[in-house]
Symmetry: none
Subunit: 207 residues, 4 copies
Amino acid sequence: MSIAPRRIRTPKKRVTQRRRGNTRSDNRRDELLAAAARLFSKNGFEATSMRDIANEVGMLAGSMYYHFPAKDDLIVAAHAEGVQELLRAMDTALEGVVGAWERLEAVCVAHLDNLLGGSDIAGVVAVDFSQLPEELRARLIEQRDEYEGRLAQLIDALELREGVDRRLMRLSLLGSLNWTPNWYRAEGHTPADIARHFVALLRQGVC
Amino acid sequence: MSIAPRRIRTPKKRVTQRRRGNTRSDNRRDELLAAAARLFSKNGFEATSMRDIANEVGMLAGSMYYHFPAKDDLIVAAHAEGVQELLRAMDTALEGVVGAWERLEAVCVAHLDNLLGGSDIAGVVAVDFSQLPEELRARLIEQRDEYEGRLAQLIDALELREGVDRRLMRLSLLGSLNWTPNWYRAEGHTPADIARHFVALLRQGVC
Amino acid sequence: MSIAPRRIRTPKKRVTQRRRGNTRSDNRRDELLAAAARLFSKNGFEATSMRDIANEVGMLAGSMYYHFPAKDDLIVAAHAEGVQELLRAMDTALEGVVGAWERLEAVCVAHLDNLLGGSDIAGVVAVDFSQLPEELRARLIEQRDEYEGRLAQLIDALELREGVDRRLMRLSLLGSLNWTPNWYRAEGHTPADIARHFVALLRQGVC
Amino acid sequence: MSIAPRRIRTPKKRVTQRRRGNTRSDNRRDELLAAAARLFSKNGFEATSMRDIANEVGMLAGSMYYHFPAKDDLIVAAHAEGVQELLRAMDTALEGVVGAWERLEAVCVAHLDNLLGGSDIAGVVAVDFSQLPEELRARLIEQRDEYEGRLAQLIDALELREGVDRRLMRLSLLGSLNWTPNWYRAEGHTPADIARHFVALLRQGVC
DNA sequence: TATGAATGAGTGTTCATTCAT
DNA sequence: AATGAATGAACACTCATTCAT
């Protein structure tokens, strides 16, 4: 993606400065963010052009650069939005739920609900980013850290038999969940069903 | 108002015509295929250009169109090659192994070995394809069917407690495995370790 | 100018490889070069777009990239062509001329003749390049070195009074000559007159 | 078939209206002018954007249009500022200097001092403008006329041998001086040295 | 079988400028 | 007197694809 600027002229970074007071309307920025998240999760980062996003909100491509100095920044911001949405969904899902396994399950259900159709915005976190340039990839991973950290805490709260590597357990579960967009079809099991089943497999094993 | 993503350009169907006489060596085609698989698994489908592949085998971009009428066909063929490699690895891994769980484990170890560094060519099956256009995506899924079918057979051979959905179990396992390129780092566990751990999680559960 | 590529994918340098045998037609490349030199000398490097050049030879902008991988390379190549033309003009001008001052004068006349109207192509060497990015600028300077070196030899051949810095003398003369496009008007002195006058000023001083 | 270079965009003439009452301090305008001159001389006219200038004084791009209706007007005004500075430098340099050659030399030293590092603002007059659109170019030339006129006077004051075209002599000297940014490097001769040498070459000739 | 040359639509990005507030 | 937001046209460059040779 990322294409070079006219001539050098020193990069001019102009840092994304997250709006001053954030008081004023600023709704175009949010519109943009939402549209970007939606398109990114439908078509992927590379396959979504700045023009696609601009059109979606009825704006010209160049106008977006007032709000985001580069596509990468838009990706980062949209991804952050997705992570936030997921975190909120996590909080909501956990409300009033006790029992370590029940809590893990509730979160997985929320996760898949968001991934597989619930929210267009959360979907952005399931977009494959393994092919993005190192630097950008690192920024996205960092953003996920809070979410994965909370997931790790939920898993730490479980009583497990000896010999289980809790990190690998988390990564296994996340893989199961995040791979679903590769095969999920709306006609089959519901996202919630799938999530519950995955958790059950881990909890009880299959024997 | 959502705008169509890139690609498309012109359908023009010209079916992959699997070689005319198929008589002669045809090794340039195979070279091409290998190079494509290698690059696809390193950089992804979108990020690999026809020129990249052509250069890799010392050919000009236009020349490839003698062998493959379109990039999609090359993707399909390279993916097929990857699946074949995985199938061969599966056969090798299963040689002389008895015991349903041992067989599943052997196959998972082989799968991750190939995915995470072993073969460049097999790596192509772990490339995210959820964002590819429907039609192409369908062709790839179809190609995986044999592999997944054999995996399904291995899973069918297991004795499982009641209530386990063997299809979801398979997809969960595959997700765990195929998601590994997103977090795997060479310094940590070996691919074989990871694979064995994932199988153990399923087999015994974590409680 | 110079704009970044889609996404990283390793720079892919594809070195400008000055045509293999240079036997075959290859005339489009030369056409392109001539058109570029012409436009560069009329409008400057920055103000001449790749599209301008492409249009000039009836080609689409993208097609040029088959011949030159980047605008910078085109600039370098066109500049080289200009320097060559100037060198040829120098050789022609020197033919049969003896006497160190006469030789210098002949070369200056040829220089201005080319710069101020004779050849569109030689004009490219008088285009200001002091604002170009360091790296490109360095390449152009390097290309001029042969020409300036020959000029330096002509100056070395002169008998001068003590205390004259021959390098500064050369740069002064070159400056006088190369600045002429900033004020020259076809109605006044001829380029040859001007050149002769400049040389005379240096030779005899003004007192 | 030659295609028009960039710029243009829309003529829309709205004459520079030299301040309404011109009562109040008006210092933002002057700040702007100084910043523009500084950036123009560092990077050239084309390579300096309106945003660059606005940022330099902590203003938004749009705000500048209150002070200057178009970039061209800003160029013209900044250039005027540079000429003024050069004229002041000329006056300072001439203070108490008698002797026609000494006066010329003093002015050339001041000129190069300003051009090659001294004042950012005066530097604007050495920026190559030979590629600017005719109309704008004409306005700048007109502004230089006073400076060049004073230079011409200094030259008129010299006693010269017969046959010297004083106009060509002036243009030769100016060319030598103004071409220096194309080759000057801070490590070599000082600007003053260079200027003195150039004058000496003219004065005494080289034989 | 492959090359050389081109096409045309696309990409991310920049920039002078406008204008309601 | 300045801001925030947008426009529209341009720019350098890439890419899948075509086709005569």
